[in-house]
């Protein structure tokens, strides 16, 4: 019988990691105290503040793993991990630069032209340039390979026509990575003929329209591309290799701390306010959530270590995201036993605000970046069932 055991190696934590953590904590603490930002739940999607992103850029906390020549600091993935988790638990407004730091930057580094690396990466690292994802479409959600956006070869470049949907933060972004079909769809090879482009959003023919979500935040966008011309060197990687690039990009995206810490800020607030009068039963509910968070963090750090060792832990990453996003939802579902959530407006009560915002945002946790059903399919394939 084949082995199905997953290993999650220990992260190698040295003094510089603890130093960095302390530095980030002190900075965030000062920012909150001085009114620099108000903590929000699901801050990596719902907290947009380009000014704050610039501040982080000035601190040198964006793109930290990238080469120095492109604006990075050549720190380890673990350094980046520590920065991101501290930002998340503080509820800092990090959405503007989040995608560019997490995946567009690494994508450009892996597949972009030298020109892109020299011109765009340093601006991303400075917190001045943001990138949106152009994946989903009106007719393509989980079945991403069915995208209809077309890129037609023209003299000196490509002409892109189509519509991208649910792109978070696109209104604040200068670029979008657009997945488009560059050759006719072959039903037998559905994943072939897809190409990624880096499209400047100020190009002629691009319109971006904001979409309000059920929690009242307008971070989603619908972006329409009408015969948008991009030069040949806007192609990311190889023409036709888009699918392979996307899947390795998603593996990076799936195992980070934002997959289990989106609502931690609400749990923390409950503890800050309720610590003096906690009952045994309340402690048990909170303790069981904290235990699961600790275990998920060990898993997530293990995936980071595997990535650092050059492995591609696609199944492990899917496990983290499936378990982690459900836990993010469980936090509010279980806390409401003691702190009911029914008022839309917070009336100045910060705990109520964090709880109700967490609840209103939680349907998205198990959808974004691949639904949990898609993830379970990936896991099942990893176990040899598909």
């Amino acid at each position: 019988m084949e082995s199905v055991r997953f290993k999650f190696p220990a992260p190698e934590i040295d003094g510089s990691i603890d130093e960095l953590r302390k530095e980030v904590r002190t900075f965030l603490d000062t920012e909150v105290r001085s009114g620099g930002f108000i903590p929000v739940t699901d801050c990596w999607c719902a907290g947009v503040d380009p000014e704050f992103s610039r501040k982080l850029g000035q601190k040198g906390w964006i793109g930290v793993t990238w080469p120095r020549e492109y604006g990075g600091r050549e720190l380890s993935a673990l350094h980046r991990y520590v920065i991101t988790e501290e930002l998340l638990v503080a509820g800092a407004p990090v959405h503007a630069h989040w995608i560019a730091d997490r995946q567009s930057g690494p994508l450009i580094l892996a597949t972009g032209t030298e020109d892109m690396k020299c011109n765009i990466l340093p601006r991303i690292a400075a917190g001045e340039c943001f990138v949106a994802l152009g994946l989903s479409e009106p007719e393509s959600g989980s079945d991403l390979a069915s995208v209809r956006t077309r890129a037609r070869k023209v003299d000196g470049g490509w002409e892109i026509t189509g519509t991208k949907l649910w792109s978070s933060g696109a209104k604040h972004c200068q670029y979008m990575t657009v997945l488009a079909r560059t050759s006719e769809r072959d039903p037998n090879q559905r994943h072939e003929g897809l190409t990624q482009f880096l499209v400047p959003l100020n190009s002629t023919g691009v319109t971006v329209r904001g979409i309000r979500d059920m929690s009242g935040v307008e971070h989603f966008n619908e972006s329409h591309f009408e015969k948008v011309f991009v030069p040949d060197d806007a192609v990311l990687g190889a023409v036709g290799a888009g699918w392979k690039q996307i899947t390795s990009e998603l593996a990076l995206e799936r195992s980070g701390p934002e997959r289990f810490l989106s609502t931690f800020v609400a749990l923390e607030k409950v503890l800050q306010q309720g610590a003096s009068s906690i009952t045994g039963h309340q402690a048990a509910v909170i303790g069981s959530l904290l235990a699961r968070i600790r275990a998920l963090r060990a898993m997530s750090l293990g995936v980071a270590a595997l990535l650092g060792q050059g492995h591609s832990p696609e199944v492990e990453a899917a496990l983290v995201k499936d378990l982690g996003t459900r836990l993010e939802q469980d936090i509010v579902e279980r806390l409401r036993e003691f702190w009911p959530v029914h008022l839309k407006q917070s009336y100045g009560d910060e705990l109520q605000r964090l709880m109700s915002d967490s609840l209103l945002r939680q349907p998205s946790f198990t959808l974004r970046g691949g639904t949990n059903e898609v993830l379970k399919g990936i896991i099942a394939r990893g176990m040899g069932l598909r």
């Binding site: 019988m1 999650f8 909170i286 303790g287 699961r292 060990a298 099942a380 069932l385």
Partner: protein, 362 residues
Amino acid sequence: MEETEQLVLDTAHRIFTDQCSAGIVNGSERGEVPDRLRQAILESGVTLAWVPEPAGGVGGSLALGFSLIRQAAEFALPVPLADTLVANLLLAESGLAATESWAALAFDGGELPLMVDGKVSGMVEAAAGASGAEVLVVPVSDKGAVRIATFAHAAVEVEHRESLAGEARSRITFRSVAPDQLSGPVDCMTADGLKQFCGLVRACQISGALEKITELTVGYVKERQQFGRPLGKFQAIQHKVADIAGEAALTGAAIDQAIRMVSAQYAPLRGGSQAFLALATAKVVASEAAGKVARDAHQAHGAMGFSYEYPLQQYSRRIWSWREEFGSEFYWSERLGMAVTSEIRAHEARHTTGSAWHMVSR
């Protein structure tokens, strides 16, 4: 893990593979003592993994012992290897001679029997390994300090009882009896430290069993055909298997983290606050996973998994018992929650800000 330790693990694995078939496990529950298995294990010396070399043991790391325990659980080993390992660790740590035979561990996480005027009184509700053990190892309380005592079986009242999976869990009554051997007070042990350590032992056992259950389930749904195709081709079944794999993986990660943490302690049996978080986490996650995985795996197996013949039940019955022993997920969750809130309160008293995150990320 060092090469020599890997060798010990490999040796144990070979013995388990050769001598511990599913038939042996079922047979032993019905009273057929697995003599060859017991003999092979004793001869290999793995029961002395946690005894220092100068004292005649293997001198292995804590990680080695926990790996052995996990591995034994993958075979539903019908022999108290885990309990003998712990018993020998207690003997060695308290300066007493380890046993080269099987030991019973008269400790279940409850109150320790009391030592008064050189004699021991009290009761242990569920002592592991007491049938067929040569020596009974008992942590006792002497004016608040822990001492380790040993008894011959005949010297105490033993009422035979079994776990859900037929593992010996005897009630032992001490009516003012003098021990055969008695250590001095052992500084590096507390009753709570022992409970935390033994909780991790059970969590490791659960983890090993979950790995095996995952393997059995994947194997079964690939083989079993219904409606003209293997069960594993149905999305509903695939999602159950993914859930099982997730719980098993989460448990494995929590266990590994706890083993690393306890290995870094100067006194792993004293119950310090550093290791507490990791140990409590491991038992909460493992015990929660036990119930979920047992349910999903049985559902995927249909009636076959419910039969005595098929090996799944040896694992599900074990994890249902192990999840309760040395504190269930409810017990450790409450302690974990209380520990976090009391740290936050301590900060408040000093007018500083405490945070659950600081404890989670520690």
